[in-house]
């Protein structure tokens, strides 16, 4: 018996295990993903069903007409749902939120990973744990804390009210809660990559007379750019998709304080399922783009995205 035979399973067991794993992933990952798009285009799905039935009866012409009609109708309704003014307002707010929260957390991630990986100081492990804190807090609590700060009875709520500044139940509250939720994403991707890079390159650059900034721009940044890109990507995906925290602190004024995930909820609760899934499908596409870029980065550079 050869060594490989003693450390692997029979072909039958192998195939059974692969089949079991794929079946599980089919029901818990693939079908939910596909159903987002199927539910966003219900007329196309109905067209395919009726078309398949007609094809079964041998009516090829009828079948193709049914399918074409179904897709045409589905496409029209999908565009109408996405072109809706409230949906557009939600998209704008979602983009605005990400455009503020992501750069803030990017700057923080760079500063934190620089301090943590290039220097030794007591309490470093504790600091890393504190940075991960928002990941273990319920998103609902992530929204609540900013109501306790900025709400009418909150710590600085009365001062804000006296100066006519609204943060809770308004756009600034949504941005701040999203910043809290996405706080660790860039830092936790960067810290392991920068730690692996070590300090030799920077020490050499400084010895050759480079300033801190030159050292960062020309030595550190090129070394960690893929980890940085992936961190920013994850941060953006989460910022645009955050639901719990934003739902708590949003004023729920349609067209003003509703982000895309909140718009999905409103449409869904109005039983406007096709429109809800149409907006949801845009968010699902964003998730797929994120996964695609992540995979490309991993395959080309052999970098494993940091642990989660």
């Amino acid at each position: 018996m050869s060594a490989t035979e003693t450390t692997t399973e029979s072909a039958l067991v192998r195939r059974l295990l692969i089949a079991a794993a794929l079946l599980f992933l089919l029901f818990f990952l693939l079908l939910p993903l596909l159903s987002v798009f199927a539910e966003a285009l219900p007329a196309a799905r109905d067209g395919l069903t009726v078309g398949a039935h007609a094809l079964g009866n041998g009516a090829v012409g009828t079948a193709s007409r049914m399918v074409a009609a179904g897709f045409a109708e589905a496409g029209g309704r999908y565009w109408a749902a996405i072109a809706d003014p409230d949906a557009h307002a939600a998209m704008r707010l979602t983009l605005l939120t990400a455009a503020i929260a992501v750069p803030l957390n990017l700057v923080f991630g760079l500063a934190a990973s620089w301090a943590i990986t290039k220097f030794d100081f007591p309490g470093k492990g504790f600091l890393v744990t504190l940075i991960d804190l928002p990941l273990s807090v319920s998103p609902v609590v992530g929204g609540l804390i900013f109501i306790l700060l900025f709400g009418a009875n909150g710590w600085i709520g009365p001062w804000l009210a006296a100066h006519d500044i609204q943060i809770a139940f308004a756009v600034p509250g949504i941005v701040i809660a999203t910043t809290f939720i996405t706080f660790p994403f860039v830092a936790r991707e960067l810290i392991p990559v920068m730690a692996e890079q070590g300090r030799d390159d920077e020490e050499a650059a400084v010895a050759l007379g480079a300033s801190g900034w030159q050292c960062f721009w020309h030595v550190t940044l090129p070394n960690v750019r893929w980890g940085l890109l992936y961190g920013v990507l994850l941060c953006t995906a989460r910022a645009m998709g955050e639901f719990g925290a934003v739902s708590v602190i949003s004023g729920h004024i349609r067209g003003e304080t509703d982000t895309m995930p909140l718009e999905v909820e409103i449409l869904y609760n109005e039983y406007n399922f096709a429109a809800a899934f149409a907006v949801a499908s845009l968010l699902a596409l964003l998730a797929l783009v994120t996964l695609f870029i992540k995979s490309v980065l991993e395959w080309r550079y052999g970098t494993q995205g940091g642990g989660h």
Binding site: S35, V36, V141, I145, S295
Partner: protein
């Protein structure tokens, strides 16, 4: 602190650490402290009445129970997926590997409505389960299904590197001593991946107890039956009962922080065993 850092020739320690601590305090620490300050201001009786009412106790039971059930299910399913991805080569393996991260990238509300449409009694999967008497959506089982979706990548990504690093030599040694594949799995492989499995379980469990977006659509949210603890916070807020919401949030935060401590200890233990 600066004395220790002074040994490094690399500049920028002061500004980067200063900014890190300032930003951390402003965005995370001070906001989180509001929960503890506010609940400390409540009398013990008021706190207990708000945090431990019978309806809220039922919600904790569901949140913690469903999170534990989903994490346990994922421990088995996630180990299977990680094993297949690390050990076997099959067409589409890379695609499957990329798909495992979907729950990290897909917004939770989107996952929630997708799972609901799939597992409700007229959905693609729910239709198959209904004749068996299984009500998947709008029941506690629905909460578990949503948390299985959310927790899967935590287990797979925790176990994968350990399985990949596990040398063939220990398995060969086990086989040469006469152990069958199953015995080798049980006596050699499982103990080696044990700490990673436990870490993955704890991570998935911690995420599960606080999860909101993916659960509220599929749960049905019936009091005492399918209402999760984060939803109790939202319900108190909608009635402008901030003290009540804060009391429940305090219980959730204490649970989260205790779990975070356990996870850190597990990871230290796991790293020691790997070394």
């Amino acid at each position: 602190m600066s004395r220790v850092a002074g040994r490094s020739v690399i500049p920028g320690f002061g500004p980067t650490l200063g900014f890190t601590l300032l930003y951390l305090s402003l965005i995370v620490l001070i906001p989180l402290s509001t929960v503890f300050v506010k609940s400390a201001g409540m009398g013990p009786q008021d706190f207990a009445r708000a945090a431990f009412s019978s309806r809220t106790l039922a919600a904790y039971r569901l949140s913690f129970g469903a999170a534990a059930a989903a994490a346990a299910f994922n421990t088995a399913a996630g180990l299977l997926v990680a094993w297949v991805l690390v050990r076997y080569r099959f067409p589409g393996r890379r695609l499957v590997s990329a798909m495992v991260d979907l729950p990290f990238a897909l917004p939770t509300a989107v996952a929630g409505i997708a799972l609901t449409s799939l597992y409700s009694s007229n959905g693609l999967v729910g239709r198959l389960l209904a004749p068996l008497g299984i009500k998947a959506a709008y029941s506690p089982l629905g909460v578990v299904i949503a948390l299985v979706f959310i927790g899967l990548p935590f287990i797979v990504r925790a176990v994968e590197p350990v399985l990949a690093d596990l040398g063939h030599d220990v398995e060969e040694a086990s086989a040469s001593l006469g152990a069958g594949r199953f015995t080798t799995f049980r006596r050699v492989i499982l103990p080696a991946v044990g700490p990673a499995l436990l870490t993955g379980f704890a991570l998935a469990f911690a995420r599960g107890i606080g999860e909101y977006g993916s659960v509220i659509f599929i749960a049905g949210n019936m009091p005492f039956r399918s209402e999760i603890a984060p939803l109790r916070i939202v319900a108190q807020l909608e009635q402008f009962d901030y003290a009540g919401a804060t009391a429940i949030a305090t219980v959730m935060l204490v649970a989260s922080f205790s779990l975070l401590l356990v996870i850190n200890l597990l990871q230290i233990w796991s790293r020691k065993r790997m070394a």
